[in-house]
């Protein structure tokens, strides 16, 4: 059970954003993806999650190509992403945001809603419990009934993660989960991700906060100008000459 991208090429006009990117996240893996701004990290996420279509190359889940699947189908297949700029449902409460993410609801069909009310109520009770657990896990319980637009930037990041978890994903693509999150909470998110990872969920994480990221992931890949220039354990990668040159601007 692996997540793999193979030789991804993506052009925007004359600009080659991704130039033959290959990367594998093993089942239950925990991989960090770093690189300077404009390196193509978010574009890679967009391609993996089906929001953009690559010019060449393939995205595979368990060796099965996902190219024929649109974004919603990929999420249902177990590959769920979050967004760099949080995309909360701003007028729904935090709890409703989580409930909305739960898959396979009979009550999301008008026929089911009006003709199977008992079943809808039972399912609602089950996902309400799931949502409650997730709220507790992410320390969002105190704000559960506030509209999501009132959350801080960091809380919105947590909500994004929480919604992804409601899908029972096999792989989660986290786009800068620590941006705007206060340091205490970062520690907690790190702990949560570790727990989830121990429970078998694979993570690929874009993050600029290297200190927090290296505390979390045992494996790093570095993307620069559309190519993976290094990958491996954090210590080896961060001391790699090419990485220091490209990513750290050759200062150190």
């Amino acid at each position: 059970m692996t997540l793999e991208v193979r030789d991804i090429v993506m052009n925007f006009g004359g600009f080659r954003a991704l130039d033959g990117v290959s990367l594998t996240v093993p089942a239950g893996g925990l991989v960090g993806l770093i690189g300077p701004n404009g390196a193509g990290k978010s574009t890679l996420f967009a391609i993996m999650s089906g929001f953009q279509t690559q010019d060449a190359g393939a995205v595979l889940l368990d060796g099965r190509p996902l190219d024929a699947l649109a974004a919603p189908a990929r999420a249902r297949a177990g590959l769920v992403r979050t967004f760099q700029v949080p995309r909360e449902f701003r007028n729904l409460t935090v709890r409703q945001n989580l409930l909305a993410a739960a898959p396979g609801q009979t009550g999301e069909n008008l026929l089911g809603l009006f003709f199977q009310p008992g079943r809808v109520a039972r399912e609602e009770a089950v996902i309400a419990r799931r949502a409650e657990e997730t709220l507790r896990l992410l320390k969002l319980a105190p704000v559960a009934d506030q509209p999501a637009r009132q959350l801080s930037g960091g809380q919105k990041k947590l909500l994004e993660l929480g919604r992804a978890l409601m899908l029972d994903p096999r792989f989660v693509l986290l786009d800068e989960p620590f941006a705007g999150v206060n340091p205490v909470l970062i520690g907690e998110i790190v702990a949560r991700i570790r727990e989830l990872n121990a429970a078998g969920i694979g993570f690929l994480i874009i993050e600029h906060d290297l200190e927090a990221l290296t505390r979390l992931v045992p494996y790093l890949a570095v993307l620069d100008r559309g190519r993976i220039i290094a990958q491996g354990g954090p210590d080896a990668v961060l001391t790699d000459a090419a990485v220091r040159e490209a990513y750290l601007g050759g200062v150190a």
Binding site: S42, T43, A46, F51, Q52, F83, Q84, V85
Partner: protein, 288 residues
Amino acid sequence: MTDLLQHVANGVVQGLFIGMAALAITLVFGIARFPNAATGDMMTFGAYAGLVAQQAANSLVLAGAVAILAGAVVALASHWLVFRRLAGRSVVSLLVASIGVAFMIRAVLGVVFGQAQAVFQVPLTRAQLYWGVRVTPLNLQISQVVVAALLVVFAVLYFTPIGRQMRAVADDRDLARVSGIRPERVMVALWLMAGAVAGLAGMMLGIKTVVAPEVGWEMLLPAFTAAILGGIGSAPGAVLAGLLLGVAQEVSTPFVGFSYKIAIAFLVMLGVLLVRPSGLFGRSESVR
């Protein structure tokens, strides 16, 4: 065959009107980023202004100048009073507000001029035959005026600093901002230009047909279609698509009947949007 050529010739004249209306729409869509549903009524406003001027001074040239001016003024006023206050708001706000502007322009015209149709006093002339196709000197003159106006617009867009700035904003607003383009100046130029084009188009349409409170509104759907077909924000595309649509409408008239022109426009629009949901040459939005 001659019949077909005749329809093509009629379609070209009709297409020039659609093209001008589409040009006014695509300029606003490309730069202010919303489909301006008041474009049609801005045309009607120009037509009535030209009519008043012609009746007062008995000069078509002066009437044309007044129509251009009136269109520009009403467009700039709607920018200052309405659209500028909605900058940064959702597209539905701007859309609904543009419907509001359309209704207010139509209301003013209705109160002042009533609902009756009016016509421009133009000399009746005999149609000439060119390669078996009947063309009236009036249609020829109208076409010449429209083509000349389009040339002026394109000259401004492509050969003046403000025109280059307008195109830069249409291409990439953020990039334009960081390269020091003052957005409000561009907006004022945009509305003056779009209004002037609409005003003149309205008067030319009025000369060719009649002046009535709904003439502009009835151009709206074909004009939107041409703007989408030509690629939102593309001025040459809008004019070419307008011509194409005008010809398509006229050529299909013998088969579907005069009154279903609007359905032709609608079907073309659906067809284009089916193939390319973001318009024929539209940018596809990226999700990051």
